[in-house]
């Protein structure tokens, strides 16, 4: 069973109920609704965006927000709103892909470390603890510096920056679960290690990991934006929230909207992700399990 199958399987009645409950609160509805809307916007960007994101019009450069350019234009006269809409595509897909990779790798590593223990666990955790104490931006920067700028390296850089988090969390869950009586009881029924790992340990460990993954997508968006801001992420003319702000710094005084709106997009998205994640944590009642990991 691969990770995504496992994730789907873990969404059994129990978890579905919880996600429903996350939507039950006012904050949950607003935050969750916004996120769904954002995903739709990203998917249908070509139909929603009023202008071509790459169309330059130097005659209309640095136009203030108004009609027809609702959020103004940048120094090449490109429509900021259209670029923000297409930027959602880049930011969301890069972050989500990166976190999915990070989660899959982290869960495998963490589960193996937690389940097998011993020297293997100690080796993995030493490396993981070490990277964990370094700022994520630094880890991502070094990685991008090594393999060069671009969206692919940004994706992997984000994945590596959050690998430690998922490994630690998964391992902590597995170690905690291994001590539960039902694991010993199932072993005593004559269960094979694979049954213990796939039917009990992983399904029970996965909920907090998925929630943290969801929260990490928010962090990933910020990290992608930061790398983009340094000019290390999306390369022109691909629109990304970070890259837009990077090219906008020069025009900070002239046309602040070029910076403000992509930033607002990042901030609002990340806040929505956090609020919804918080509701999920509450609905799943796993706050205690996220402590100390």
């Amino acid at each position: 069973m691969n990770v995504s199958q496992m994730a789907i399987r873990s969404l059994d009645a129990f978890a579905r109920m919880s996600i429903g409950r996350a939507f039950a609160s006012g904050i949950g509805i607003v935050a969750g609704g916004f996120l769904i809307l954002l995903v739709l916007v990203a998917i249908f960007a070509p139909w929603i965006a009023p202008f071509d994101y790459a169309a330059q019009n130097l005659l209309n450069a640095n136009a203030s927000p108004g009609w027809p350019h609702l959020l103004g234009t940048d120094e090449f006269g490109r429509d900021v709103l259209s670029r923000v809409i297409f930027g959602a595509r880049t930011s969301l897909s890069v972050s989500a892909t990166a976190i999915a990779i990070s989660m899959a790798a982290g869960m495998t590593l963490g589960a193996a470390a937690g389940y097998f223990g011993g020297v293997f666990e100690r080796a993995v955790m030493t490396v993981v603890d070490l990277t964990w104490s370094f700022p994520d931006i630094l880890i991502a920067l070094i990685f991008v510096a090594i393999i060069g700028p671009g969206l692919t390296s940004t994706t992997f850089a984000i994945a590596i920056a959050y690998l430690a988090q998922f490994t630690r969390l998964t391992r902590a869950q597995i170690v905690r679960l291994k001590r539960e009586t039902f694991i010993e009881a199932t072993i005593n029924l004559g269960a094979k290690p694979s049954h213990i790992l796939l039917r009990h340990l992983m399904p029970n460990a996965i909920a907090p990991v998925i929630v943290v993954g969801m929260l990490a997508i928010g962090d990933g968006i910020v990290l992608e934006a930061t790398l983009g801001f340094f000019g290390l992420g999306a390369q022109p003319p691909t629109p990304s929230w970070g890259a837009m702000m990077s090219s906008g710094t020069a025009q900070l005084f002239l046309s602040p909207w070029v910076i403000i709106f992509p930033g607002v997009a990042v901030a609002v998205t990340v806040i929505a992700v956090n609020l919804f994640g918080d509701e999920l944590i509450r609905a799943l009642d796993i706050r205690d399990r996220l402590r100390g990991a």
């Binding site: 030493t126 070490l130 104490s133 370094f134 700022p135 931006i137 630094l138 920067l141 070094i142 991008v144 510096a145 090594i146 393999i147 928010g218 910020v222 934006a225 930061t226 801001f229 340094f230 702000m245 710094t249 900070l252 005084f253 602040p256 910076i259 403000i260 930033g263 990042v266 901030a267 990340v270 806040i271 956090n274 609020l275």
Partner: protein, 309 residues
Amino acid sequence: MILRYTFMRLLMLIPVSFSISVVIFMIVYLLPGDPIDNLLRVGSSAEDRAELVARYGLDRNLIVQYFVWIGNMFRGEFGEAIVLRRPVADLVAQNLPYSLTLGGLAFLFSSTVGMALGTISAVVRHPVLDRFMRGFILLGSTVPGFWLALLLILFFSVNLGWFPVSGAGGWTSLVLPVLTIGFGGVALVARVTRVALLDAQREDFVTLLHAKGLSSGTILLRHLMPHALLPVVTILALRIGWILGGAVTVEFVFGRPGLGSLLIRALGQRDYPVVQACLLMLALAVMLGTLIGDVAQASMDPRIREKKT
């Protein structure tokens, strides 16, 4: 007891620093292309190349090379910057004080304000204050630092003209960078303090403290705070590395000199001796941070003191 613990903890740093230095050393070899080219400026002559090879023993095997390199590092010889054409040690020495000032002030700001806010919100438990705190913490931990920096510049420097837009002249140039870094830090520290205090309040022994007839104030100051400080100290210690390394973006936006901006420029220019030196310094800061955190924790908690020694 605490001395013994510190000594043990220092011993444990040896393998850690060894592995970090190996990783940093290996960077030039992991890069695409010839490692020697990575250390030479473009258009260097064959003599330059031969000299470099001789100096670092680059013709010998990796293990020997590592020891030559680390030996140089210990003597403070970080090599020659490729692009800036100056000794790397000079560059580091020039930039480090800026990083330390900014980092130190941001650290002080975020720890004092964060702990105060966290304590107030845990003790007062007023719904409006609660909502405000949660909003603040959410903003502080989600808004990207560089964007906040840009907004602050736009508002305070451009519109109000209170502080300089960039540079590192005088104390006014420190206000906005410290605020930017501090904002996230304050939110984080406040959250940890709040959670830790609320947790401590739920401990069994607190009931008995009240049953002894102690006042709530005494219990808070003498018993709850020390407990709440344990996780706060861990976070603060981690922050030391984060503030020095994570200041990259803020230094960059405000155009301040410092390790972070040195690193980012060196990365952009592929100036690897500088990159290695910066990373080594930052790693040192991170390790020092965790060391200080662990020792501080041990000095507060007798259980940790005994476990490790």
